[in-house]
């Protein structure tokens, strides 16, 4: 082939089939684990998944470093990352949907609004429509998580980290590798700080507020939303850390650093989700 490739089509790859089989092991292991069977299948699957991602990404990085990515390929990666983030938005949308439904419909209905007066009077006459839901119809009590303590500090941390990751990007575009690395290291630090503070917040919720997954719909939406967000921050922090290593390995040039950009898109997405969480889970 004398001409430069228009589009790189990898011939075969063993990583996808390793990925799908390890996903099966991990999923089967999780289901058994949850049902109280032993946990080693789950950990095996998880380990295999990490191994697969490491191998697959290593191949792609090698292709990128060897200049096999045409401009068209770059566009494919960009678009697919964007659509992936769209799908993530809808995943969080499901939980926000549950939150809004509970706040606007199910809790008021249980307290007798709309045409539910009889249900209220007969089934749980002492139930009051409040949000956060301090007492469920079944009588489980909890205290609410305040917005202006740790959650607010965490908001500041995450917003700052979105700024620092952008500074890192600007430095990268000017080929200032050391500066970019410094800003990115700061971003990783902020991500880690966020996660540590969230652990502190959860411990506070469990031990002092009596707020847990079992404290009714308030606890359910609180922990699932913040939990999945925290999981995404964890993933994002790991991705940022990998980018930091790649900056120091000299993988990126000022025009060619899509992996970094994809990670920063992801990071901004996680940040925006948090702003919605802060507004609707903590504040109002």
């Amino acid at each position: 082939m004398s001409e430069a490739p228009r589009y790189y089509v990898p011939h075969t790859s063993k990583w996808p089939i390793i990925g799908s089989s390890s996903l099966f092991v991990a999923a089967f292991g999780t289901a058994s684990f949850i049902q109280g069977d032993n946990d080693w299948v789950f950990y095996t699957g998880l380990g295999l998944l990490v191994f697969m991602m490491f191998g697959w990404f290593r191949d792609v990085v090698a292709e990128s470093v060897n200049g096999m990515m045409s401009g068209l390929m770059d566009v494919s990666y960009r678009q697919s990352m964007a659509w992936f983030i769209v799908s993530e938005v809808f995943f969080f949308g499901a939980f926000f949907g549950a939150l809004f439904y509970a706040r606007v419909v199910s809790v008021p209905w249980l307290a007798g609004s709309s045409n539910n007066l009889l249900t209220h009077t007969i089934l749980h006459p002492n139930f009051a429509d409040t949000w956060p839901l301090f007492m469920t119809p079944g009588g489980t009590e909890t205290e609410a998580m305040g917005a202006w303590g740790l959650p607010f500090i965490n908001t500041l941390i995450l917003v700052t980290s979105s700024v620092t990751v952008t500074f890192a990007h600007w430095a990268l575009k000017k080929s200032e590798r050391i500066v970019a690395g410094a800003w990115l290291a700061l971003t990783v630090g902020l991500g880690t700080a966020f996660l540590i503070l969230q652990v502190v917040e959860y411990m506070h919720a469990f031990s002092e507020l009596g707020l847990s997954l079992g404290s009714g719909i308030y606890g359910s939406t609180f922990f699932l939303l913040t939990g999945f967000h925290g999981f995404h921050v964890t993933m994002g922090t790991i991705m940022l850390a990998v980018m930091l290593l790649r900056i120091f390995s000299g993988h990126f040039t000022k025009d060619h650093h899509f992996a970094f950009e994809a990670t920063s898109w992801y990071w901004h997405f996680v940040d925006v989700v948090w702003l919605f969480l802060f507004t609707f889970v903590y504040w109002f």
Partner: protein
Amino acid sequence: MVAHAEHIPHRSGLAAFIARWTLTTNHKEIGSLYLWFAFTMFFVGGAFAMGIRLELFMPGIQLVDPSFYNQLVTMHGLIMVFGAVMPAFVGLANWQIPLMIGAPDMALPRLNNFSFWILPFAFTMLLSSFFMEGGAPNFGWTFYAPLSTTYGPDSTDFFIFGVHMMGISSVLGSINVMVTIFNLRTPGMKLMEMPLFVWTWLITAFLLITAMPVLAGVVTMMLTDRHFGTSFFSADGGGDPLIFQHVFWFFGHPEVYIMILPGFGIASQIIPTFARKRLFGYNSMVYATVSIAFLSYIVWGHHMFAVGMPLWVEMTFMICTMLIAVPTGVKVFNWTATMWRGAMTFETPMLFAIAFVILFTIGGFSGLMLAIVPADFQYHDTYFVVAHFHYVLYPGAIFGTMAAVYYWLPKWSGHMYDERLGKIHFWTAVIAVNLTFFPMHFSGLAGMPRRIVDYSLQFADFNMVSSIGAGLLGLTQLFFLYIVIKTIRGGEPATDKVWESAEGLEWTIPSPAPLHTFETPPAWPIANVGEHQEDSV
């Protein structure tokens, strides 16, 4: 030119076979994998349907105990929706989209392999639940809480993770389709010049990317309600079982269109070819598809009219639902107008496409009846609903897929199918479909509830007819399998163009299509599709 990493390992026999199909990144091979997988699942789901119809052949409980009957109904639905119809369409997309837009392959070939190979594992997990203690999921394919939370069998957890895997597969597959269409069209091909099959798949991919994560969300809530003490679907904790239904159907209604839009695209490819006329109203077809997709997000409540929503909510959902008839009507009108005064011939793909238009329209009309809130109070949860959605899915999605297979199989395999056998398949299938599902309208209107193992004596005749039809329908599809295998193994060689007045890039390459095509982007416009849609009126 396309670069290939040319180091094919030397293997032989079984090892080579396994290596070829598990490691492939080729869109044609992966397309075939998807289609064969869907075909297999179609027979598995079909076997469950046979079990259901055998049990319902006569009133009383003959063959299976009620609990196993519920498992059959649940698995029939899940397998057909997620295992047969969706993978079949993805298989067609894999084969056809790169050929129709002049792309060298799908945009992300390794991801393509990953998307496919997740499916056999996901369905292994789902089907293994039959052998678990407490049996397979038994709460219907819609898995409403609290049937699936408080009362679900232990295997529900495996079902949940199976659904997660199918969701990952669908989202990654759709991202691939989306990027391929947006990024790899041959230079010069504008969006409004794309074949309609490509357009409908673009919209389908969008629906999948946005709907499947919501499904993942709802099964996650199920999982935490089952095991971690959350109260999403429990009024005791301030939640509501209706949260399940709302979130589920927010996924579920787009899902319905995911299972029909590619069928619309297929009909829009086939009808012009055999009517020997340009497709009537190309632009309006595209706009109608976009409108249907948009409306699919705001009509989910029509599945829940009988659960006690406020009146204004029911009215809103009713009106939005009826609005869908407008773009759908535009499509049916356009297909009919394409055939109007065309030089029509009736080869098997065309027969299936015409049956698609007519029978899908019947399903559409019963959908309109169901959309009327006061009428739905009567029809809800009866066999009328079963008749409705089988009319849109069987003659819609399945006939659409079969039409596509007859239409493109000569291109894929290099052989013409046996026209006489194809026609026999068509006529038996079309008779059997109506014999099976038409009587369900009547038993439903007369009040026969769905998902119940036994029924009252007055429904006996209708059910017997349905069961006879179903048996015939099952045999017909075995015959289809025979035709497909016969065509692949031999037969009259197909020409490159296959059909006299077929248009599009896929007919410019040899038959059978070589493993790698369009490594250099083809010229666009090609002769005879140049003014493809200049005057679409």
